[in-house]
């Protein structure tokens, strides 16, 4: 069972993470990084009708900024997980320092949105229990659910 503690300085400490769960967490950044056109369209939507001149400026100036923001969040999450430790019993632990909380929220959201686009998950899919984890689509649904649980937990902590 995962033991979560909020330390005095606001750092979140996660301990006793079983290997399959830690592996899923380590896949957050990989899941969020996709050059699939549907994912790109979801990450970088136009702010108005394509005919509006703001769209050209958006592509030139705003999208590169958003790209850098999203990448920075993925890198922060990756760094926190790489600093994680594995115990002799196989369980893992890691911490999220307060300045990284928003990066985690962003990276988890990126991963969920990318997985949903890539696997064409519907609202109905997201409301059902995942099936065989050996099926890539079902494994993606497991990832999606775990990332949602973690996101909900972080939001309640930030509140």
């Amino acid at each position: 069972m995962v033991n979560v503690r909020i330390l005095d300085n606001g750092t979140l400490s996660f301990e006793g993470i079983e290997p399959p769960l830690f592996e899923i967490l380590q896949h957050i950044t990989k899941a969020a990084e996709s050059s699939d056109p549907d994912v790109e369209a979801r990450f970088y939507p136009m702010p108005a009708d394509e005919a509006d001149e703001v769209c050209q400026d958006w592509k030139a100036y705003i999208q590169p900024e958003l790209y850098a923001e999203f990448q920075a969040s993925r890198e922060a999450v990756d760094a926190d997980l790489r600093r994680g430790k594995k115990k002799a019993d196989g369980t893992a632990s890691f911490v999220i320092p307060p300045p990284h909380m928003d990066h985690w929220l962003s990276a988890l959201n990126q991963a969920r949105l990318a997985l949903a686009e890539l696997h064409h998950f519907t609202e109905k899919d997201m409301g059902r229990a995942p099936g065989d984890p050996d099926d890539p689509r079902e494994y993606a649904l497991i990832q999606l659910n775990i990332y949602a649980t973690m996101q909900e937990w972080l939001i309640s902590t930030l509140d």
Partner: protein, 96 residues
């Protein structure tokens, strides 16, 4: 001898940019309701009650107008909402 082409200038009518502009947030099935409400509070300065009201409107009606005002500020809000991966657009508000 080639003639010098007369440059064409397009002048944007002032009223095209004049207020009011709506910032509209659209529903998507992936973003968590709690996350959308949190973003509304952070970006738009909504109270918890306001944030939840607009979040429910997005969820139930597919969209919610979350802010109305001048174009430049509306663009900034849309950018901030996009940075939180919410689907947001600008729309010219109907003139009353």
């Amino acid at each position: 001898m080639s003639s010098i082409a007369t440059p064409e200038f397009q002048t944007k009518e002032k009223h095209d940019l004049s207020p009011p502009w709506n910032v509209v947030v659209h529903n998507d099935p992936v973003n968590l309701m709690s996350y959308v409400a949190l973003v509304f509070r952070r970006v738009l300065g909504f109270s918890r009650t306001q944030a939840e009201k607009h979040m429910m409107e997005v969820h139930n009606s597919g969209r919610s107008i979350v802010w109305t005002g001048e174009r430049e500020k509306a663009e900034l809000y849309v950018q901030q909402l996009h940075s939180h991966l919410l689907l947001a657009t600008l729309e010219k508000a109907p003139q009353s």
